[in-house]
Every structure is written in C-alpha cells, then in structure tokens.
Amino acid sequence: MSDSKKKYILHLADNALILGHRLSEWCGHGPVLEQDIAMSNIALDLIGQARNWYQLRARLDEADITEDDLAYLRDIRQYRNLLLLEQENQDFAYTVVRQFLWDSYHHALLSDLMDSSDQDLRAVAQKSFKEVQYHLKWSSEWMIRLGDGTEISHQKMQTALNDLWYYADECFVSSEYEEELVKNNVITDPSILAKAVKKMREEIIQRATLDFPEEVYAQRGGKEGIHTEQMGYILADLQYMQRTYPNAKW
C-alpha cells in the first residue's frame, strides 16, 4: 500500500509540475496582458501544488531526499504525469482546451480526495481545490467565448479539441497503484469519477457550440512513465540547470 501511495503522490505532483511548466512558457507571450497574467497565476498555483505534493512524497521516502531531487533529478520514465499535460501550447486555443480537459477532471478529483481516508492526501487536496475552482472558471469561460466566438476562433477551438481528444480520457484508466489504493478505500476509482467529468465536459462543449469529437482510442502510458516525444523537451528545459551545475543554489 505505502508503495502505491508514493507512486500516486508522484503522479499528482508530476501532473501539477508539468502543466505548470507548460503554462509558464506563456509568460510574456499571452494574447493580452490580463490573460498573460491569468496563465502565469494558474502556473504559479500548480507549481505550488506540485511543491506540496513533492514535499509530502519526500517526507515519506526512506532516503533523505528533498522536493528538488524529485523535480529536477529524475529521468523521463520516472515521471507519471498524464500525456495531455505535456502536450505543447501550440496556440491559445490548444492551451485553453488542454486546460479545460484537465480542470474538469482535476476539480472532480480533488473534490473527491478532500474526503479521502488518508490525511496526507486530504490536506493537500483541500488546499489545492480552492485554487482549481478559479482555474475551471477561467478555462470554461474561454471554451465558450472562443468556441461560440468568430468563425476563426470556433474553427481553431474545434481543431484543438479534436487533436487533444486522444489524451482526454487517460485520466479515467486506472494504473496499478490507483487500483491498489481503490482496493484499500483510499481513493475513488477514476472510472467512477468519469461520469460526472464527462457530463461537465459535454455541457461546456455544447455551450461552446463545438462538435463533440468522435470516440477515439484513449492514448495512455503517462501514469506508468511512458511519454510522448514532447516530454523530453520539457525535461531538458526544466532540468538543464541542475544537470549542468549539480546542487547549484541561488
């Protein structure tokens, strides 16, 4: 059980870190100042959440490790984030759709973890949940505004939605460590969360006047450390400093 819990915490931490990193790439490049600030704020929340998860994971480790060891010194196969979150920003439409698909799940997940029998998971989930409410508002609003916007914005959103749909449902497919935690009544089976999340996604996609994408094979592997090619580039960027100058501090 404790091994599964450790892996699960890493999964949660990596999700937050990788999407936080992606959003931080927008800093200084947003379409308008207010949205540049919004994306940087969401990135900051996520990186803060990642720190809380990594600190928790480090505390549970037998070895004397820190949050930084986990964020900066692991290799690609040891990262357990969802594939959706490592996908490139592309344009604002992709970024909004990626954020919405994630927020709709993240919101339901944290809301559930807030009542977990595990005190560690509960504490970080409670803290993160309040922030994620604002994230979900932001991404839902933009889904509707751009989907139900101009002909061009509608088309860009539809393309982004169709492309990212391959990664939309990986979150609902349980990994071995999730299965074990479900068995021990620590977390709810992700496939049970799926019902509410899918309903919410449908509602917003409909309000955004977008076509619901056809059912596709859900790409998976992220939870077990099998990533898309985008992931290597992120880690190169993220870890460059610690790899080049080990233990550098400032």
């Binding site: 949205q35 504490a123 409670q126 604002y134 508002k137």
Partner: protein, 168 residues
Amino acid sequence: MQSGSTQLRVGRQRVMQALETVCDPEVPVLTILDLGIVRSIENVEDIWQIDITPTYSGCPAMNMIEANIRLTLDARGIKNYRINTVLEPAWTTDWMSEAGRKKLKEYGIAPPQASPHQFKLFGDQQLLECPRCESTNTECISQFGSTSCKALYRCLDCKEPFDYFKCH
C-alpha cells in the same frame, strides 16, 4: 518569583507582539495576524510552536514571511521557537480580521466578501464596492491579478481600476 502561568502569559504576549509587526510583503498594510496566517502559538516544553498556514499553494510571499518571522523573533531575543507550516484546515479569507478588512479598503483594495457556500461555475459574480468612490457599479476584468490573492476590477463610475482581494 513569577508563577509559571504568569511567565507563560508574558512570554506569549512577547511572541504575539513580535508577530504583530510582521507584514505581508505584497500587501504591506496587513500583518500576518490580520491575514489569519498564524494559526496557533503554543508553548510545548519551553519551545514556542508557531503554526502558520500558506494563503495560496504557490504564494512566493510565504518564504519571505517565514524569514521575516525569524528575523523579528531573533531581533527581540526570542530564541526557543519552532515554525511549522500546516496545510489543513486550508486557509480562507473568512479568517481575515475586521481591522485587516478596513486597512485593505483604505489602501485601495476591495476586501474579500464572504465565501460562497456552493461553487457555481458561472453567474455568481458578487456586487463589489469600489474602494475609492464606493459605487457598486463595478465589473470584473479578470479573476487573476498582480498576486495570487487578487482579482482585477474596474469602477464604471469613477473609471478607476482596482484590485479585489478575492474570497478564498
């Protein structure tokens, strides 16, 4: 000779007085007591256990606040203390003091309104008062502002933009 309980009371007062001078680096009119960041001060075996809680997970001010607490206590000769960060229960703007709310408004930031009991995705925008002209004819520009804790608003009467310390 002071009795043990008097000594404790005096000691506690010294710690409180010190903490009252530590301000939020981003919103310098608020002390950490106004913000509700300090959750408890207990004396356990002659060590002051000071529990603090972060406002937002990624708030960069937290590291500085902790450093400032240390500097302040050290400067006042209070040596036997330990600062613990606690996450649960999660910080809420409902913990902000009345004095804090008043100071915020005077500083030009609209203070947080009561937390809504139920989360609504749309249409729960609250009627906010402009901290300058007190008109409620205001609108939200963005839920995200210059720091994690603030949203951007503008007053449609006096035309001034202003920050809102959003409820959390």
